[in-house]
């Protein structure tokens, strides 16, 4: 590196730091530190993977939804998750990575997705528990990211958070109906909450003193609050909601702490978290397998579309009104 280049980088770093600390947004073509780019790619890809793997546990109930209204809601929700995946892969691609490449890494087990989706949906009530708790935890995590320093990621999060609020509400409503339904339905709802509560708390990641990347990510404004902070916020939100559901949260140590002004809650079983993370969750293999199979089974379709496009690329699209678009573009100047 020449001296001139070195000075350049120093200037660029200073510009970058100034934008970030002034709560400005970094945009795709701006200079950014390599480590910032790499961290973002990893974080956004993991997030995108979680959205599309997250379709599976709920899609598991589309064909069995017990009313047509619920069937429509569930289908729309699972569809939204596919959409979220697409928004996020789009954001990642502004960082000069390719979606195909990210999917390959997911399929090869070289990039992660949220461990929560390695738990099975055993009953219909699990659909409600996922909406209320899992989407709820995701929202708690994601709302602050609407203000993260990377523009495309922040914009994707704004769109996603808008859609997520329906997800959480439908889950809550579903559980409420079960909890206030027949004794069998109530028991189903309680059982689901019993199984999903602790894994939901684990969604915020390891405790602050064991979390490795946190400090740098906070400085970069691509993480805005610590894991424990967000977890605490989530618990405080859930306790009154559980009460009005008429369902108990499965934690005997859960109680209001007057002094701290928040709830105390019990010890999380981090050995389970580590196990699931390492691939030993109940559904890790199944989820990845289904994703891989869908991708492999779709290969001939994608190849056909590409071959067709190559054959017909000389011709313009039959119905794309390109004339209108360019005309107006020119007007807008």
């Amino acid at each position: 590196m020449t001296t001139a280049q070195a000075t350049d980088t120093v200037d660029q770093q200073a510009d970058f730091d100034a934008v970030v600390s002034a709560e400005g947004r970094i945009e795709p073509r701006d200079w950014m530190p390599d480590a910032y780019r790499a961290t973002l790619v990893r974080q956004i890809a993991q997030h995108a993977h979680s959205e599309i793997i997250g379709m599976q546990p709920e899609a598991n109930w589309i064909t069995r939804a017990p009313s047509l209204r619920r069937k429509a809601i569930l289908m729309a929700k699972v569809q939204d998750e596919a959409g979220h995946g697409l928004y996020l892969y789009g954001a990642a691609e502004t960082l000069d990575v390719d979606r195909g490449e990210l999917l390959d890494k997911l399929h090869a087990g070289r990039q992660r997705y949220s461990s929560i989706f390695n738990y099975p949906t055993l009953t219909w009530a699990d659909v409600g528990a996922i909406g209320w708790l899992v989407d709820g935890a995701a929202i708690t995590n994601q709302v602050p990211l609407c203000r993260c320093s990377y523009g495309p990621y922040a914009r994707a999060m704004v769109r996603i958070c808008k859609e997520e609020s329906f997800h959480q509400r439908q889950g809550y409503e579903l559980l409420h109906a079960l909890s206030h339904g027949t004794p069998a339905q109530h028991a189903m709802a309680q059982d689901a909450v019993d199984r999903w509560w602790w894994p939901s708390l684990m969604m915020f990641g390891p405790p602050d003193d064991e979390s490795s990347h946190s400090e740098q990510s906070m400085a970069w404004r691509i993480k805005r609050h610590s894991n424990d902070e967000l977890r605490q916020r989530f618990v405080d939100i859930c306790v009154p909601q559980a009460e009005s559901l008429g369902l108990a949260l499965p934690d005997p140590d859960l109680r209001w702490n007057e002094e701290r002004g928040t709830h105390d809650f019990g010890e999380i079983d981090w050995s389970e978290f580590q196990q699931v993370l390492r691939g030993n969750g109940p559904c890790n293999e199944q989820r990845l397998d289904q994703r891989r199979t869908a991708h492999e089974n779709g290969a001939w379709v994608r190849e056909a579309a590409a071959a067709h496009a190559a054959k017909h690329s000389a011709r313009t699209s039959d119905d794309a009104v390109s004339g209108t678009a360019t005309g107006e573009g020119a007007m807008a100047g």
Partner: protein, 98 residues
Amino acid sequence: MNGATSTEGPLWEVFVRSRRGLSHTHAGSLHAPDATMALRNARDLYTRRGEGVSIWVVPATAVIASSPDEKDPFFDPAADKAYRHPTFYEIPEGVKHL
């Protein structure tokens, strides 16, 4: 923006007019094998809650962007021409409709 044609097909940038009277704004991107499918996919992905009345799709490779390296010569000249903005001018108090 990355325009590589991977196994996912080429990348398209999507612009949506949210309602009549407004201009198209960038909504995001997607993959599609060709322009026709890109329009369909954009309709399904970006307007399923009634967010749009018109869509443009543009191959990502066709977008020519100003480079941030030229940031200063490109945009700075516009920054010191305050006389282009109405607030530059002082108007005696009490004068209306100006």
